[in-house]
Symmetry: C2
Subunit: 460 residues, 2 copies
Amino acid sequence: MSDTFVIVGGDAAGMSAASKAKREDPDLDVIVFEKGEWVSYGACGLPYYVKGEIEDIEDLVAVPAEEFREERDVDLRTHHEVTGIDPDGKSVTVEGPDGSFEQPYDELLIATGASAIVPPFDGIDLDGVYTMHSLPEGERLKGILGGEETHPDAEISHPPESVAIVGGGYIGLEMAEAFSGRGLDVSVFEMLPHVLQPFGTDVAEVVEDHLREQEVDLHLDTAVERFVGDDHVTGIEAGGETFDADMVLVGVGVDANSDLAADAEVDVGETGAIATDEYGRTKYEDVFAAGDCAEATNVVTGDPTHVPLALTANRAGRAIGQTVGGGDLTEVGDIAGTAVVKVFDLEVARTGVIHHDEAEEAGFDPVSKTIKAPSRAHYYPGGSPITIRLTADRESGKLLGASMVGEEGVANRIDTVATALHAGMTVEDVEYLDLSYAPPFGPTWDPVLTAAKVLRGQLD
Amino acid sequence: MSDTFVIVGGDAAGMSAASKAKREDPDLDVIVFEKGEWVSYGACGLPYYVKGEIEDIEDLVAVPAEEFREERDVDLRTHHEVTGIDPDGKSVTVEGPDGSFEQPYDELLIATGASAIVPPFDGIDLDGVYTMHSLPEGERLKGILGGEETHPDAEISHPPESVAIVGGGYIGLEMAEAFSGRGLDVSVFEMLPHVLQPFGTDVAEVVEDHLREQEVDLHLDTAVERFVGDDHVTGIEAGGETFDADMVLVGVGVDANSDLAADAEVDVGETGAIATDEYGRTKYEDVFAAGDCAEATNVVTGDPTHVPLALTANRAGRAIGQTVGGGDLTEVGDIAGTAVVKVFDLEVARTGVIHHDEAEEAGFDPVSKTIKAPSRAHYYPGGSPITIRLTADRESGKLLGASMVGEEGVANRIDTVATALHAGMTVEDVEYLDLSYAPPFGPTWDPVLTAAKVLRGQLD
């Protein structure tokens, strides 16, 4: 009898694992339980769907459910929620449309993802307060912007004309662009002194100036106190003031969905995500975890970290599928926490360790330097400045991380630094990279090289 | 008495060395002899100047001569040609406006650059036949396109309406864009089966399709036989046919200006460029060579190579300036031969060793794979395909090189591979890089990762 590989959760990590395992071993029984309707979708595309740049929500689906079922021979069961794991008995409890049942497994992958954090503000349950983490949420929001839902509160203009966004992270700023593109008045409330905390102050300040140019009403260092309204939200109290808003979007981060694992005494790390080894295994060697619910190892510090991003999920799922289907233990890979986000006309990117407290905690003596360099040769028309901040360890010169922002040439340029981090390069190594040059694409010394040159001057 | 550092040639390598040496040791006497008028200029910008995107030729100058003289205290002497080197007597012979003299040196840098190859075709000396390698040549050509010079041959329309470009390399294709932008009918003649030889066939074919879409009349595998005309060129004979042309641009490559060095028994390598060690020294330890006249070491093969590009020149000049001014031997750095060129709407890039004969000669067993991947998430509007060809050594999996082409996301993306080459990564290492992702900038698996994944499948 062939083995049964059970997967809990049908998004990036789960479906990557399912596909890869079946490709490696067509005889393997692969069962995926997904509690919702959608599988294998790009939640990263939701802001552009809401903005209207993507017409059909089905376009966000990478591989349709039927293709998994019919072409890839995966036993994919949507509307099935796994409610318990018995690691000793090697089975899971499943609630499906036809009731509850036990499903035995030989190998199990927990790929339960993450959920938008819902902060305990007064008024969080009012109508018109949304989070944005799933396709149904995106669909509903787009419908509301198009006037599909009638507001129960007659005082609210309809469709909404203003939105208050709580949180200046990725989702908050991508949604600011989306709402602004739909013609809404947008305000953003961030409790920290700067937006985009993982990108550092120097980069954040460039983004903040740009947001203000785009007429986003930006409230930094401003804690939200409560949402105002009777049934439907009508405003937000923050920093001691009240601001009117026809709707509210809460984007204050995500939490790993690790309760199911924790209930089965699978270890959960300090990050709140499931602890795994280099092969994505939990403390039970036949129980894996991957994707937004799991930790990954930071390539710079060697420490477990929780950075729920799409590539990490896809890669780990695929590696686990290879392990389960192919039989050889396959590493899920370390991460550098490389990320890029579009904020209106800006590309904003980061990789590695850039905050000094984080670097110090990992035993480094961090030094940083921020430079500005042009995105094209000084004489070539249309260039714009790129701001780059590089961080390194003073003693060893080891490169620790970088963040960048600019109107062009940032999204791919961060990958030069990410690659250098994976290679364990020093700042001097980076200075000696033979990077490309042509007048339309950069100065002779690539901005990364210039940043390395300047930072090395600080290390001597 | 302070040392005297004599530099022959006032472009990227020479002026970088001069500036750096003076910064390191303000007491050093730094004398630069430049036979022409211009110093420290971006020849790479000439096509855009001719095209009309850059108004003033002085914009191409990175640092004006007066700044070197007045602010950087460099004894810069234009219109001074060094005609001989006496390495034993440690002096050079100089022809200046006031006659000939001997200049003693303590350290000497040969930075004589390269010259456009002038092939021995019949008719090469006709009016209307140009090369494009210096600012005066660029100025003259722009003048002609603007109708400034009268053609001596009355049969020629004026200003020129058609141009035949000999050579489908960087300069040829950049100038094709420039001439096309000026409204000329453009034909390109390439004796090899494909344009852009250093980029490989798969990438070249994409470029060729694009050139044809841009109405460039492309003649591949077509050797030019002679230029036709009495005083002024009126056409070109190639592949047994005659083609009319009001002007001809010859861009068949450059040769290192190494005669001065060779006459002084400084070693010249098989490439025709000056042989140097890792510090840019020739066989005489007080005679350095850098820039387009010198060899550099390929980071993949460890072999000397001649890839005359701007960053290599700047970097080597700066390192030699550091050595001479600062006293500590500083490495000039290896090169990966990383290059990018804009061809109309395409970005075309390469790095490392991509041709199999070259890889085999260096002792590798090369395997290549070409993939196409989208430049944006599949659902994000406006994306276009990127073609990537990766090459690796079969046995070790060591990455050897890459070439890429696409409308966006190529110029900086090649640097991910260049960095991996410097780190000596395998294809598997590349597959595990944590590269950036957001829907506007690429698919979840960056095209470089996908290419590595596919290539690794070939290695197993």
